[in-house]
Amino acid sequence: MATATAPATPSSLQRLGRIVQDNPIIPLIILLCALVGLLQILQPGIFNERWVGNTVRFAIPLAMLAACQTLTMLTGGIDLSAAVIATISAFVVSTMTPLIGPYPAMVVALIAAVLMGIINGFGIGICRVHPLIMTLGTSLIGTGCLQVYQRYVINTGSVIPEVLEWLGTQRLIGQVPNALFLFIPFAALILWGLRRTGFGRLLYALGANEKATRLSGVRSWQVLIALYVLSGLIAGITGLLYVGIIRAPSLSLANGLMLPSVAAAVIGGTSIFGGRGFYSGTIVGALILTVLNTLLTLLQIPEGARGILFGAIILIVTAVYVRITDQS
């Protein structure tokens, strides 16, 4: 309606819309700054190096898990098993370490993660099952397997490898969390991979128009299998990092990150229908959610109201985003 009645010269709103469309990360950063500002007003002095370090530390596993969602959403899919895969790899690594040592345990944990990725990829790529259903199913199976597995290792106890604790909790330089040593190369790889490699472009192409992509000679099933295996691997690595941060393995360790990881990708501007999205937005989305969580805890809002606010914010941000960028 607005475009039909607009004068020949673009209105300021349209111009704003165009700027936002070209640089979708700008409003996200503004929102992040606004939230931090609000936090600073409510609790003067909270904004310091230490707080920033901690916020970044807790945002990193979320951002990594949200990478699984971003990558799969680019093809029009979703990976609801990512959090369960992370939990599995975290639990396996901490229970296998006393038995076979830290590094072999990490390898075993990542093999388990990749295995789940292969099952997802097989179902989605070859059997053409809807990713939502397929990954829901594998997360159910994975949780069951984990509980059965727990029965067998109940006597071994759990040890978290030192290298993971170092990565998760310690700081080498000032307040900079060590997790950044893992995250910066990881994020750089994803950003570069999506923008510059053939695989990254194939993901966008599959999401934008799968039929056209297939007709141009792409074997989509191979891309999808590789994608879900990659997603499983990322989730597995996230699990390793997360158990180092939390330092208490459990059977539902990372499951609470499931919905926030989807939310981070969605807030970050990745279209759930595929073909549109970028990882830098997801990183800012993860930061926004972490700051928001702090804000809600600080205001001592009861758990119920926090849930309501959390949901409302996801919805409002996405709705505004859809309005601003989809003016056609």
Binding site: I78, G123, C127, R128, V129, H130, L132, I133, M134, L136, G137, T138, L140, I141, T143, G144, C145, Q147, V148, R151, L259, V262, A263, V266, I272, F273, P302, E303, G304, A305, R306, G307, I308, L309, F310, G311, A312, I314, L315, T318, A319, V322, R323, D326
Partner: protein
Amino acid sequence: MTATLARHGWALGLLAVLVILLVSTRIIQPNFGASGLDSLARAALPFAFATVGMAIVVIAGGIDLSIASIMAVAGVIAAVLMQQMGDANAGWAVLIVLLAGVGMGAINGALIVITRVPDIVVTLAMLFVWEGVALLILNAPGGASAQWMRALVAGGVTLPGVPIEWTSWLPNAFIVLVAIVLIIWLPLRRTKLVLSIYAIGSDQHAAFRSGVPVGLTRIAAYGLAGLFAALGGLAITLSTGIGEPIPGPYLLASVAAVVLGGVALTGGRGGLLGPIIAVFILRTLRLDLTLLSVDPNVTTIIEGAIMVAVVMVGGILAMRGRH
């Protein structure tokens, strides 16, 4: 006759599977009888309502990830109201709960239509919202439920003038389920609304061009799903006697039953009969495995594997059909 058979082929196949499962239950546990059927039907009741609600939105081409949270809200409203209003006024409490369910579903639908945000995202956000609402209403399990209503879904059927042995094997909960679904769905089935729901599910653009009010139909579909979710929440409260604000495992189970029940996730195809039979199949299977003293965690794995296998085979068959 053959046309009917072909149309309900999948449902009939499921029915056969259910009968085989029930017979094998009898073989595993020779004294499985009326009380076993009764507890099976009562356990299946909330799952069945959740599945019917989910089936309606899936037929309309959507999905409702917040269905378990809506059930939690309805359950706690019912428990709180029944405690405050007493047994005599429990009927009014039920009416309020059902209206609340329709309202919550309609809000979901309206948000999807107004914001133009994908249904998965909207209902994911609403999952948080409704869960929060349930916690605000009742912070910890509590409340009460009317005795006479609890009796309604327990035990076997007794009809005046018919020997009790003839009817008592049929669980009340099952009759309640069938009666409610028939009362709500049968009058609707031939209306324009349900036709429109199938139309927007199979091809939204074609439906729009044929003059179907796409937005309103979508809101109505979600409202209906909310109604069934509220019935499911009510069933939970009636079977446990208290309200539980934390959502149960109904989301996954309902999606599994909808898929197993032959409703296409792409929308527009399927009915309610298949999904309801599928719920009973999944519940009976769980019962059988428990009776065989299989580890409940292994049962979860088997359930998940069945669900995945069903959708995989369905996917391959759909691809074959296209070529």
